[in-house]
C-alpha cells in the first residue's frame, strides 16, 4: 500500500530504476525493514524450534491473540502521523470493555451496548483532540489526562471483573472461520477491517493526506489552506474510537470486562507503530507497517513463551528493537534532509 499505487516502472531515460524507486519510496524503507525482521523472526524460530513454529495454527493464533493490539495500533498510527501521541488508549480500552460488560450484565441489548462502548472511546479521544488543538496542550499531557480519566471511569463502572454471557459478543471470539488448518475469528476480521479502512482513509481521502501534511509541517499545511484543526481533532477521535473497538475485541477475547486491563498497553501500541516504520515526529509511515509491527511484537511474545523463557526477555527484546528502529529512522530523516 503506497501513496502512489499507480505504476512502478522506471522512466525510459534518466535515473535508474533503483534510484527512481528510492526517490519515490524512501519513506517505505523502515516498513520494509519491519517486514524483513518479521521474516527473520519466523525463519529463526522455525530453525530453532525444528520446524514447529510456522504452522497454520500458530500464525492464525498470532492474529487472534493480538487483534486488540492491532486495533489500537491502527488508531495510534493516525495520531503519530500528525506528530502527536496518545497515551490514553490502554485505559480507554479498559473503560470501554468494562462499560460494555456492565451494560450487558444489566440486560442492555448488545446493539445498544456496543455503540456505547465505541462512543465512550471516541468521546475521550474528542476531549484529548480539543485540548491539543484548541488549548494548545502538549499531546503527551492531554492524553495523559485521558489515560487517568479512562482508568478512573473504568473503576467507577466496576472495581472487579464482570463476566460476559451475551452470546453475540462471545460469538465474535468463538467462531472459527476455517480454511484447512488456518482459521480466523470475527475479532480478527474486525482488526483486519480496521487496517483496511484506515489504509483507505489515509491514502485515498483528502482527510488522510491532510494527516500526512500536518505531520510534515503543520504550519505549511495551514498555509496551504488545508483543514488542519478538523483533521487533528479527528485523529484523536479515531484513536479513541479504536480504543473503544479494542475494548470490544478484548472483552470478546477474554470473555469478561476487567477495569485493570490494558495497563501499559498504550506503550505496546506505540512500540508496534514505531517498529512498523512510522516516524514519531510524524508525516511518514503506513498503517500496514503498524500491522507488521504488531505481528513482530506478537511473534516475539510467542517465541518467548515457546522457549519457556522469562517474560522479561520480551521487554528487553522489544526495547532493543525500538532502539534499533529509532536509530534507523533518524538516519533516514537525516539523509532526506541532507539531500536538500
Amino acid at each position: 500500500m503506497t501513496a502512489m499505487a499507480t505504476r512502478t516502472e522506471s522512466r525510459e531515460s534518466g535515473p535508474s530504476f533503483l534510484q527512481t524507486f528510492v526517490s519515490r519510496h524512501g519513506s517505505m524503507m523502515p516498513t520494509f525493514a519491519a517486514v524483513a525482521i518479521l521474516l527473520v523472526l519466523f525463519v529463526g524460530a522455525e530453525i530453532f524450534l525444528r520446524g514447529d513454529f510456522i504452522t497454520p495454527r500458530n500464525i492464525s493464533a498470532l492474529l487472534l491473540d493480538n487483534a486488540y493490539l492491532l486495533v489500537l495500533a491502527v488508531g495510534m498510527t493516525f495520531v503519530i502521523l500528525t506528530g502527536g501521541i496518545d497515551l490514553s488508549v490502554g485505559s480507554v480500552m479498559a473503560f470501554s470493555g468494562i462499560l460494555g460488560a456492565k451494560l450487558l450484565a444489566e440486560g442492555v441489548p448488545a446493539f445498544v451496548a456496543v455503540p456505547a462502548m465505541l462512543l465512550g472511546g471516541a468521546a475521550i479521544g474528542l476531549m484529548i483532540g480539543i485540548l491539543v488543538q484548541y488549548f494548545n496542550v502538549q499531546p503527551f499531557i492531554a492524553s495523559l489526562a485521558g489515560l487517568f480519566l479512562g482508568r478512573g471511569l473504568a473503576y467507577v463502572v466496576s472495581l472487579s471483573s464482570i463476566k460476559v454471557e451475551e452470546p453475540g459478543i462471545l460469538w465474535l471470539q468463538s467462531t472459527r472461520i476455517r480454511l484447512g488448518d488456518w482459521y480466523i475469528t470475527p475479532t480478527g476480521l474486525i482488526a483486519l477491517g480496521a487496517v483496511a479502512v484506515a489504509a483507505f482513509v489515509l491514502h485515498l481521502t483528502r482527510f488522510g493526506r491532510t494527516i500526512y501534511a500536518i505531520g510534515g509541517s503543520e504550519q505549511s499545511a495551514r498555509l496551504m489552506g488545508l483543514k488542519v484543526a478538523r483533521a487533528k481533532v479527528m485523529a484523536y477521535v479515531i484513536s479513541g474510537l479504536c480504543g473503544g473497538l479494542a475494548g470490544l475485541v478484548l472483552t470478546a477475547y477474554s470473555g469478561a470486562g476487567y477495569p485493570r486491563n490494558g495497563i501499559g498497553t498504550e506503550l505496546d501500541a506505540i512500540a508496534a507503530v514505531v517498529i512498523g516504520g512510522t516516524i514519531l515526529t510524524g508525516g511518514r509511515g503506513y498503517v500496514i507497517g503498524s500491522m507488521i509491527g504488531v505481528f513482530v511484537y506478537g511473534t516475539i511474545k510467542t517465541i518467548i513463551s515457546f522457549m519457556g523463557a522469562e517474560q522479561s526477555w520480551m521487554q528487553i527484546i522489544v526495547g532493543a528493537l525500538l532502539l534499533l528502529f529509532i536509530v534507523v529512522q533518524r538516519a533516514i530523516v537525516a539523509r532526506s534532509e541532507g539531500r536538500r
Binding site: A3, T210, L226
Partner: protein, 511 residues
C-alpha cells in the same frame, strides 16, 4: 509589459492601519496591484512590508481601512480564505510538506476524486500538466525533500497556479537561490505575468527588483512613501526613499577601514594548519589587534567551516590555535568564550537569537554565559548594558522588553551582535551578519564593526557581498573548494580583482 492605469486593479488596499501593542505597524497605507504586473514592495526591515502582506492574506486583522479584491470588498480571516479569493503566497522558507511527493504537494487538498477516493492517476497527471505549463521537468512522484530549495520554490508557485491564483505574492523568494535558479524563477514569473497574474514581489536584492519589476511601492516606518513606475525611479532615489537619508554613512566608512594595522607584534589569534578531513583542507589564519579580516568565497567554499573549527563549534583533526601567542585548546564554544572569542552564526534563527526571550534577556545571555551561571549579573548592570547597546546599534523598537521573535531580521541581527559585544570579546567572528537585512540596518552594523575595530577589537567578517568585505576588511582571505587559496590586501584590490581571484587564482599553488 507594464500594465497601464486603465486596467482595473485586482487588489486595492485603502487606508490600511494596523496597531500592535506599542507599535503602529501600518499607518494609513494604500496599495494597488494590477493584473499582469510585477509590483515590488520595498522598504527597510520593519517598514511594514510583511505586515502589509499579512493584512492582505488574512494572517493579521486590520484595524481600519478596506481591502478590495476583484471589485469586491473582502475581509479574510485565514490563509485559506485568501487562497479561495485567488491570493496565493510563496514564502521565503518554503511552506510545503517535505515528507510528501512533488505531485502531492502541488495538488494537496485539490486532488481529483473518483468513487469516493482520490484518483492518484489523475492527480499525478494534473500535477505533471501544471508543472509542464511552467516548464518544470521533474518527476512528480519524487519526494519534495530530494529537490533543491529553488525547485521547491517553483513547486510552491505551481501549487498557487493549481489554485488558479490571480494574485501571487513572492516574499523574498530569491534569498537562497543562485543566479541560474533566479533566472529560472524569473522566467516563470514573466510567463505568469504574460498570463495576466498580478505578482507582488519582495526582495532585498535591488538588481533583481530592477530586473523584474514594472512598478515599485516604497514603505518606510509603516507609512507609504510612494508608488512609482520602475523607469521613473532610479536606484539612488529608491534607496533614499527607503531609508530616508543619504548613504553618506557608508562613504565615511571607506576611509576608516583602510587603517594601517600593526602586524609586527603577536597576533590575537593564530591558526596553523587548521583542518578537518572532508570539511576543510589545513589552512593558516592570523588576526592582529584591531584588524578586520574578511573571508571571501562562494557559498560552500569553506568560509563557515574555517571559522567553526577556529571557534570550536566543530572539532578540527589537524592544526593548532594560538591565542595571544600561547597555544590554546579550543575544543568547544565554551573554551572559545573563555579565550574571548565570540562567534555570531550565519544561521541567526536556529543558532543565534532566542526568539521567545526579550531583547534584554538575549543580550544578557552572553554576559551570563561568561560569568558562569552561578553568579547572576546584577540587574542594574544588565539594564545599563542593554540600554547602551540598544542605543549604540539602533535596535528598533528600542524596547528592552520586546520579544526578539517579533523583531525584523535586521533588528534580530543587531540584538545578536549586542549579545556578543556584551561579552567583551577580543576576537569577534561574524558569519554573514548582514544577510537578508535592509540597507539601513546593514549600514548600522558595518559602521559598528568599523568603529569597534578602530578601538582595538579584532574581527573576522564573512559575507557573500564582496563590496562589504572590501569596505570593512584590511585583509581578505579567499576560500575556494574547501581550501584557503590566498590572502589579499584589501587596499590593493578592487571588486573586479577580488572576483577574478576567487574565480581563477591559486590554481595549483596551495596557500
Amino acid at each position: 509589459m507594464p500594465a497601464d492605469n486603465e486596467v482595473p486593479p485586482i487588489v486595492e488596499m485603502r487606508g490600511i492601519t494596523i496597531r500592535f501593542p506599542g507599535v503602529l505597524a501600518l499607518d494609513n497605507v494604500d496599495f494597488t496591484l494590477r493584473p499582469g504586473e510585477v509590483h515590488s514592495l520595498m522598504g527597510e526591515n520593519g517598514a511594514g512590508k510583511s505586515t502589509l502582506i499579512k493584512a492582505l492574506t488574512g494572517v493579521y486583522a486590520i484595524d481600519s481601512g478596506t481591502i478590495t479584491v476583484a471589485g469586491e470588498q473582502r475581509t479574510f480571516h485565514t490563509a485559506a480564505d485568501a487562497q479561495e479569493a485567488g491570493i496565493s503566497t510563496v514564502y521565503q522558507e518554503v511552506n510545503l510538506c517535505a515528507n510528501l511527493t512533488v505531485g502531492e504537494n502541488v495538488m494537496l487538498g485539490h486532488e481529483p476524486r473518483r468513487a469516493g477516493g482520490i484518483d492518484w492517476r489523475a492527480t499525478q497527471r494534473e500535477a505533471a500538466r501544471h508543472m509542464e505549463s511552467l516548464g518544470l521537468a521533474i518527476d512528480p512522484r519524487s519526494m519534495l525533500a530530494s529537490h533543491s530549495i529553488a525547485i521547491q520554490q517553483l513547486v510552491a508557485i505551481i501549487r498557487a497556479m493549481v489554485l488558479e491564483a490571480k494574485v501571487l505574492i513572492l516574499d523574498e523568494p530569491t534569498s537562497s537561490l543562485d543566479r541560474g535558479e533566479v533566472d529560472q524563477l524569473f522566467a516563470v514569473i514573466r510567463d505568469l505575468r504574460a498570463k495576466g497574474v498580478a505578482i507582488l514581489f519582495v526582495s532585498h536584492f535591488l538588481d533583481q527588483v530592477y530586473e523584474i519589476s514594472d512598478r515599485i511601492t516604497v514603505l518606510r516606518n509603516g507609512a507609504l512613501v510612494g508608488e512609482h513606475p520602475i523607469e521613473e525611479l532610479p536606484r539612488d532615489a529608491l534607496v533614499t526613499k527607503m531609508i530616508g537619508r543619504e548613504l553618506e554613512d557608508l562613504a565615511t566608512l571607506e576611509k576608516s577601514s583602510h587603517r594601517a594595522i600593526d602586524r609586527t607584534g603577536t597576533p590575537v589569534v593564530k591558526a596553523e594548519g587548521l583542518g578537518k578531513r572532508g570539511v576543510l583542507e589545513p589552512a593558516d589564519l592570523e588576526i592582529y589587534e584591531g584588524e578586520v579580516v574578511g573571508i571571501a568565497g562562494l557559498l560552500g567554499s569553506g568560509r563557515t567551516e574555517l571559522v567553526r573549527l577556529l571557534y570550536g563549534a566543530d572539532r578540527p583533526d589537524a592544526g593548532q590555535v594560538e591565542v595571544q601567542g600561547a597555544p590554546a585548546k579550543v575544543h568547544s564554544p565554551r573554551h572559545a568564550i573563555d579565550h574571548r572569542i565570540s562567534f555570531s552564526s550565519e544561521n541567526r534563527r536556529e543558532e543565534g537569537v532566542v526568539a521567545d526571550l526579550t531583547v534584554a534577556e538575549n543580550i544578557v545571555l552572553g554576559m551570563q554565559a561568561r560569568q558562569g551561571w552561578m553568579r547572576k549579573v546584577p540587574k542594574k548592570d544588565q539594564d545599563a548594558v542593554v540600554a547602551e547597546y540598544i542605543e549604540a546599534l539602533g535596535v528598533r523598537p528600542a524596547n528592552p522588553n520586546a520579544l526578539v521573535g517579533n523583531l525584523s531580521g535586521g533588528n534580530q541581527q543587531k540584538v545578536l551582535l549586542a549579545r556578543w559585544l556584551a561579552t567583551a570579546p577580543e576576537l569577534l567572528i561574524l558569519d554573514e551578519p548582514t544577510r537578508g537585512i535592509d540597507v539601513g540596518a546593514k549600514a548600522d552594523i558595518q559602521k559598528k564593526v568599523s568603529e569597534l575595530s578602530s578601538q582595538g577589537l579584532s574581527v573576522i567578517f564573512i559575507s557573500s557581498e564582496l563590496e562589504e568585505v572590501l569596505r570593512l576588511a584590511q585583509r581578505v582571505a579567499v576560500m575556494r573548494d574547501r581550501r584557503k587559496i590566498g590572502e589579499l590586501d584589501a587596499t590593493q584590490v578592487d571588486l573586479d580583482g577580488l572576483i577574478d581571484y576567487i574565480a581563477n587564482a591559486g590554481e595549483g599553488s596551495a596557500a
